[in-house]
Symmetry: C2
Subunit: 139 residues, 2 copies
């Protein structure tokens, strides 16, 4: 299977990307000549990582009958100092919100996503040290 | 420098990602339980690659006084067959549109982006075979 994305220049650092599922507006930070009309391309990699893992978690918790009231995923990507700057250390924090939790199943779901299913995670492992944390927030 | 992204689950396969430059809505394809409310996370990697290279090209062509009327970047990412599916072959096609071109400077700009500046390209090289093509469209 092949995915295709088409990027069109809209002037200066502004671009429109069209791909599976729709369009994304991209722009640079103001200090690099951008005008704040869209997201930064490099950080889209972190969104892709979170989204990929998030879809696994949503699907797996449902299959395992271990659904939670809410969950969120934070990703922090530390860049190298030298060009070409890439993410060398990446921390992914899975945050689960509910009154009580089936922690064993939740940890199994996170493990399956991180180590077996999430293709974006597999790509990140080739260039970054990826660490994973789980937080439970009772509410 | 560290970039931070926060992903929030909106139900089923739908997520809202908030990071540098704004929000992106993410959703799965309908055959995988999605509802078409956003872009696919894996393909966001290809948008990130195109956007990163696009910003270099915009900036470099301006510095080199070799600006073009328009340019676009197509990215085709071929996935592996087995889970975790990742992009094993990636083709990036730079398309330049104008009446005439300073091809030497344009090729220099593409080379500098691909081989020196674009951090997303550097990350892709760690897991994919990346090929690059340049097309000139006279109009």
């Amino acid at each position: 299977m092949t995915h295709n994305v088409a990027l069109n220049w809209k002037g200066k650092m502004h671009f429109e990307s069209e791909g599976p599922g729709g369009k994304v507006l991209i722009d640079g930070a103001e200090e690099f000549g951008g005008e704040g009309k869209g997201v930064r391309p490099k950080a889209m990699m972190l969104s892709a990582l979170a989204g990929c893992a998030g879809m696994d978690i949503s699907s797996l918790l449902k299959k395992m009958r271990a659904e939670v009231a809410h969950f969120a995923i934070d990703v922090a990507g530390e860049l190298t100092d030298e060009d070409p700057k890439f993410y060398k250390n990446v921390k992914v924090t899975f945050k689960f919100y509910d009154k009580e939790f089936n922690k064993k199943k939740i940890e199994k779901a996170v493990d399956l996503s991180v180590n077996r299913y999430c293709g974006v995670m597999e790509m990140f492992r080739q260039f970054a040290n990826v660490t994973v944390a789980i937080e439970y927030i009772e509410e």
